[in-house]
Symmetry: C2
């Protein structure tokens, strides 16, 4: 069983390089300053999200960013798996499912009504893993976004 630990501001130097690797892999347009500014409020105790380190704190093998919102449909506070990343070398061993199930238990205990995530329609491996851990595609709906900044 791989442990997950709630991250604190002291963990930033170990999370930021993992996040840079994730963004490079995903093609997300974000530089180091963007990542620092987006991550620190969550480590500093924002009520809008929290971060978990996967594996040993001194040498993490990945991280999960959980963000919180509210949903009339689900009837209360809900959550997003905003980012989840595992180092390439530790993939394919079921760690991703293990982490998502642990996060699900944590959120259920905190009375969160539902947890969502966005997945690339072409990423069939990820979709299968998410389905195995209880996620269902909201296939009827599409997500639309308007950037404001």
């Amino acid at each position: 069983m791989t442990a997950i630990h709630k991250a604190t501001p002291e963990d930033a130097p170990r999370i930021l390089p993992l996040m840079a690797s994730f963004h490079a892999e995903e093609g997300t347009e974000a530089d180091d300053a963007h990542r620092h500014n987006a991550l620190m409020p969550l480590l500093d105790g924002s009520h809008l999200g929290e971060v978990f380190i996967i594996g040993p704190r001194i040498a993490p093998i990945g991280y999960v960013v959980i963000t919180y919102g509210w949903s009339i449909e689900f009837g209360g506070k809900d959550a997003f798996v905003d980012e989840v990343y595992l180092r390439p070398k530790v993939r394919g061993r079921g760690l991703g499912s293990e982490v998502l199930l642990a996060v699900g238990r944590y959120l259920a205990e905190a009375q969160i009504t539902a947890v969502h995530l966005e997945v690339d329609h072409d990423n069939t491996t990820a979709i299968a893993m998410y389905e195995k851990t209880g996620f269902q595609m909201r296939g009827r709906y599409g997500l639309m976004t308007r950037r404001l900044t």
Copy 2:
């Protein structure tokens, strides 16, 4: 120009029937108790969202529920149009676009990075209206949800 007003707990008796009409129209499974419990924390000042009444406070023609979250990708606080409803009789006059643009200005002033919404892929009228007000479909991605309660 149709005004939008931030709703307070005193507006609940006028918002709840509109919300019931919206849920009936959408086929959302929610009863009056569910709606009351999901709405009141937002009217009571939760940091996770707020509600706006469309039109006169004593006889609203609709409402918008905005919820807040956080996004590493967008680099800060983001928002969802969780629900937007206009009475059937006032539709087709461009009021929906007007309301979304007003909400967008409000969110941009509040330094919100991006605003999202979910739309039924078959609802081409809504998609066209959202595109006109600056929303773009995140077509590459699907939303997956796991209920926890």
